[in-house]
Amino acid sequence: MTDTPATPIPIEAKLAEYGLRVGPETLESLKGSVADLEAAARNIRVKRSYLQEPVHALRLWTK
């Protein structure tokens, strides 16, 4: 299903970029759950046409 390669999430770099602080134990548990996040992302990363655009807010003719 995936046609866009998933890039591993750079956890420490992203947390630092946001200014988020974590201890070593939290970092370990985060790494485990990031694997789930990456799997979910692989499920999402497929090419989609205009037919799947989330443009509800711009359906001005219904207002």
């Binding site: 548990s29 499920n43 999402i44």
Partner: protein, 474 residues
């Protein structure tokens, strides 16, 4: 024999109040006393608004005695999840972050309840900001399941589920972003409805994920739920998601039976949703009962739960992070560990994946709509197991063990959970019934027919005499 006052339904209380055989003041006093006596075990309430409630009850009683009727909630006590604003009272979200957050106005739904003459008995426990729990490092303890105090209530409307099951209030409001009304309703053996997206205004309620958040009622019976929904639903021009439609009539089909109703029965939502034999058997029993009552039942499948979970959780976490980003950066120590760490995970999501999830949502909505075109309602399990032990809830299970309720947050369709039996250990089992957008009346029709054909409403948790869980376990 009639039920004791604290276990009377909204519908029966309404009849009693109208007939002047039930006093709103005496009812309110009785429930305040019951909470004072027993909620030390369940922790359903964050705050009992006794003075306000008694004033509202006195006003309601005076109006009833003067021949004024405001409908079935007139003089009936109701609880609010503590992310819903009640003017002059704190909205804490069960968090140190908002420990002094005093509401300056009522939420739209609170206004609706007050206009209907309801008595607001207090603010109820939640998972922190409707996302982090059950947690033991917050300003208030987590709610416990009245059926077994060692067990989880489900969340995030945990106090609402516990309070209704325990007979502290006949009805409560919850909110639902991935299942937060329906899961505590399931684990606590009550009825919870997540309405169609847009049916109930969210104004004055703390947001978690704007495109997935819903507000709805939690009650002991289906009829009570429909009565509450009738009051809550309606257009609010100040909530941009609010549907501008004619006044809904969710109660319109109560008592109509299910003869001819087209029911899609989903035996499994996929590998991640493997339910215990007890749950599978109980939900299959619902399908059988509906067929026996005259519905046509056909097995059906939906896209895998993993797809809904990937899409829904990606949206939920991204939108939640957008709300909490300033606080998670500036004062993370004021969050409990569970929410803080879930928000850290949310901060790792790429913008491209959030956009991808929004686009995937349109595919899932279309796929479910195609399936639903053949049915009036679909029936599946609400949870894979009965309520687990409260200390055994994983911090990170959002993707690996997603809630079976999230498909209907993603699609925005209405969905109700209700008791459909009990486990060998005496915990409630629950079924989920979903319907077409703005098809709440049809869901209530089927749910009430099932409820009337079974005896599950005759059993109540017995808190009197239960031993409180030791604080050490907390």
């Amino acid at each position: 024999m009639s039920a004791p006052l604290h276990f009377m339904t909204v519908a029966d209380l309404a009849k009693g109040i109208a007939a002047k055989t039930v006093s709103p003041v005496e009812l309110t006093k009785a429930l305040i006393a019951r909470v004072a006596a027993l909620d030390g075990m369940t922790h359903a309430f964050i705050e009992v608004t006794a003075d306000l409630a008694l004033a509202q009850a006195k006003k309601a009683e005076a109006e009833v005695m003067a021949g004024i009727s405001r409908g079935p909630l007139h003089g009936v006590p109701v609880g609010l999840k503590d992310i819903i604003d009640l003017k002059g009272v704190r909205t804490t979200a069960h968090s140190h972050q908002l420990i002094d957050n005093w509401a300056t106005d009522d939420a739209f739904v609170t206004q609706k309840l007050k206009a209907a003459g309801a008595v607001i008995l207090g603010k109820l426990a939640t998972h922190e900001f409707a996302m982090g729990g059950p947690s033991f490092d917050l300003p208030f303890p987590p709610a416990r399941n009245p059926w077994n105090l060692a067990h989880f209530t489900g969340g995030s409307s945990s106090g609402s589920g516990a309070a209704v099951a325990a007979g502290f209030v006949p009805a409560a409001l919850g909110t639902d972003t991935g299942g937060s009304i329906r899961l505590p309703a399931a684990f606590c053996g009550i009825v919870g409805m997540k309405p169609t997206y847009g049916l109930v205004s969210r104004r004055g309620v703390l947001p978690l994920s704007q495109s997935l958040d819903h507000i709805g009622p939690m009650t002991w019976t289906v009829e009570d739920n429909a009565l509450l929904m009738k009051v809550l639903a309606g257009h609010d021009r100040l909530d941009p998601a609010s549907a501008d439609r004619p006044d809904p009539t969710p109660e319109a089909l109560l008592g109509a039976g299910v003869k001819g109703l087209r029911v899609g029965y989903i035996p499994s939502l996929g590998a991640q949703a493997d339910a215990t034999d007890e749950v599978q058997s109980a939900v299959a029993g619902v399908a059988t009962t509906l067929a026996d009552l005259g519905a046509t039942v056909e097995e059906v499948t939906l896209p895998p739960l993993a797809d809904f979970a990937a899409c829904g959780m990606m949206i939920l976490l991204s939108e939640a992070f957008a709300i909490h980003e300033p606080n998670i950066q500036a004062k993370p120590e004021l969050y409990g560990e569970i929410l803080r760490d879930r928000l850290l995970l949310a901060g790792l999501i790429d913008a491209s994946d959030y956009v991808g999830a929004l686009r995937m949502r349109t595919e899932l909505v279309a796929a479910v709509a195609k399936t639903m075109s053949r049915f009036d309602i679909i029936v599946c399990a609400a949870t894979a197991t009965p309520a687990p032990v409260i200390t055994e809830i994983p911090k990170f299970g959002l993707f690996s063990k997603p809630p079976l309720t999230i498909p209907f947050n993603v699609t925005g369709m209405p969905s109700l959970t209700m008791c459909c039996g009990f486990s060998a250990s005496g915990l409630p089992l629950s079924v989920q019934i979903a319907g077409h957008a703005f098809g709440e009346a049809t869901i209530y029709r089927a749910a009430q027919a099932y409820e009337a054909a079974t005896a599950w409403r005759e059993r109540r948790p017995a808190l009197e005499g239960a031993a409180p869980m030791s604080l050490a376990a907390e």
